[in-house]
Amino acid sequence: MSERRVLVELRDVDKVYGTGPTAVHAMRDVNLTIEEGDFVAIMGPSGSGKSTCMNVLGCLDTPTSGTYLFRGIDVGSLDRDQRALLRRHAIGFVFQGFQLLGRTSALENVELPLIYQRVPRKERRRRALEMLAVVGLEGREHHTPAELSGGQQQRVAIARALVTRPSLLLADEPTGNLDSARKFEILDLLSRINRERNVTVVMVTHEPDLGEYAARRIVFRDGRIESDERLRPLEAWVS
């Protein structure tokens, strides 16, 4: 068994919202290491700290105490703009509510992160079209979110997250707004991307059956990691 490279590492991370008696302890003493290429499901009831953990991993939020290392970089030492650059180049997001720009075509939504990466126009278009094809949306490039179904919108969001070739894909309840048939389509897509593109996927969900799809399942309760089990060996995923 060869040692795989560590992508992210949380060391004694605490996250507290607010101060005084109304303070909410969202994460307590969380220690977590995720290797490259893994497919991790973070589960737990609402309010258990799983979404906070996701925000911290995505550099959208910073720990109150403790250390977060992304590829060995101490995220706590980065300023706001440096964290934005880290997100721009290394992290892709898929949200429960899709979070697409309204009245903007699927193609332009997928191109958006490439604009911030300063990718030239032509290449931007080419890569966005290619990624839309990967998620199975050929022929819908010029539809706006309002003209697409929920499942299709989430595919656009996945294409947008992957078009920058990130090393980490964070999916926060990616199937929360979809019916069960669409749910498994999206999950199949995510696991296919994880294997074929060697993208590390961290998915937050509260639905137990979705957790079965992952290679590793972490359960949060009251801000702590309650259980952390490997469902499939990492090597089996990455061939």
Binding site: G58, L60, D81, R88, F95, Q99, L101, R103, P113
Partner: protein
């Protein structure tokens, strides 16, 4: 990058055409009024300058009476032909000197008659007042008291219509005379009176045969250069005080009238008006700026989720700030552009209606654009900063 952001900004403006139009209205009105005012101000200045030039080049007039009380021929002593000769002889830089005497009279030719002003003067009058002979010739020194006349364009038209007046005979206030020339038309002066409604006759003819005395009503002096006007004016004053035996300190019974002063007074009135209305325009620009700030604040609130999305996918605060700032600047620049066009149209319309020459003032376009860009940056900054300082998670959760 900046082009992509600019394209996004323009698209956002196009998306809300109605809102964008109404938002920029303040800027449109502000810029339009500035452009119209400055253009009209320039038009009227050009008109005053042209009028002054049409009354004669660097013209000084020595008139009887007091500068404070105005010309009063009844109380002040008139001048004599010798006064005019002394001025021509003794005042350096005086250039051309024309003694004049006027007399209201009716000119009759055949069945036509016309009430006009007869100017008794000399050959130099033409150059002093900037008149041109259209046909025939001017009076000469030789025709000292002769019954000859030169007709202004209005008089010629009234008496002879399209017929050739040269050599024709007419009676002016009962005095018979022959037409030897006609003047090219000059049009109305700054006060709107017709400068072509006159008949020129030899000074002596008017003095002796129409007025029955030897008085000279005024002496007109065309100064060689504009710079010499103050010096010539003071020389004229001291010469005439001496000739009229006015003791130092005593109030003079004549005064030297400077057309340039009148022109400057008229221009300063226009200037004050322009400044006043310019201030109103500035207030309008300010109100326009506040309008833009207001709508940008609304826009930032409406698009909070969009800002969150952009931040999540890696936009820095600076890029978010730039996006909203460019949107505000684009809005106000579009307003500025519309304002410039509207202002020019309005000023051309007004200039036409007021009979002013249409003028293009290129620098005002630059100033208008600079101002509207400044308004966009100034009033767009606060909303843009508000957007840039949003926390990505809060922004994403915003409903």
């Amino acid at each position: 990058m900046i082009w992509s952001i600019l394209a996004m900004a323009l698209r956002e403006i196009r998306r809300h055409k109605m809102r964008s139009g109404l938002t920029t209205l303040g800027i449109v009105i502000g810029v339009a009024s500035v452009v119209a005012l400055v253009t009209l101000g320039e038009s009227s200045s050009a008109k005053v300058r042209a009028d002054m030039a049409s009354m004669g080049n660097n013209l000084l007039q020595v008139l009887p009476g007091s500068a404070r009380r105005g010309p009063a021929r009844s109380t002040a002593r008139p001048f004599t032909i010798e006064d005019a000769q002394a001025i021509a002889r003794e005042v350096g830089d005086a250039g051309l000197v024309a003694p004049v005497v006027t007399h209201g009279a009716t000119a009759v030719a055949g069945h036509a008659n016309h009430m006009t002003t007869v100017w008794g003067t000399t050959e130099t009058y033409l150059a002093v007042r900037g008149f041109q002979i259209e046909r025939g010739r001017m009076l000469t020194e030789m025709e000292h008291g002769a019954g000859v006349c030169v007709l202004g364009a209005t008089v010629r038209k009234q008496l002879f219509g399209e017929d050739d007046p040269l050599g024709q005979r007419l009676r002016v206030g009962g005095v018979p005379c022959q037409v030897i020339g006609t003047l090219a038309p000059k049009g109305a002066n700054a006060w709107g009176s017709d400068q072509d409604d006159l008949i020129l006759m030899p000074l002596r003819t008017v003095q002796r045969r129409l007025r029955g005395n030897t008085e000279v009503g005024a002496v007109m002096v065309s100064v060689r250069s504009e710079a010499a006007i103050p010096r010539v004016k003071s020389q004229l004053e001291s010469l005439m005080r001496e000739r009229r035996k006015i003791r130092p300190g005593q109030e003079a019974d004549f005064f030297v009238h400077d057309m340039k002063e009148v022109a400057e007074a008229m221009q300063s009135v226009t200037g004050t008006m322009t400044a006043l209305l310019g201030a109103i325009a500035a207030v309008s620009l300010l109100v326009g700026g506040i309008g833009i700030m207001n709508i940008m604040l609304v826009s930032v609130t409406e698009r909070t989720r969009e800002i969150g999305i952009r931040m999540a996918i890696g936009a820095t605060s600076g890029e978010v700030l730039l996006q909203f700032l460019l949107e505000a600047v684009a809005l106000s620049l579009l307003g500025g552009l519309a304002g410039v066009l509207l202002g020019m149209l309005a000023s051309f319309g007004f200039a036409r209606a007021l009979g002013l020459p249409p003028v293009l003032v290129p620098w005002i376009v630059g100033v208008a654009f600079l101002f509207s860009a400044a308004v966009g940056v100034g009033f767009g900054f606060f909303p843009a900063r508000k957007a840039a300082l949003l926390h990505p998670i809060d922004a994403l959760r915003h409903e």
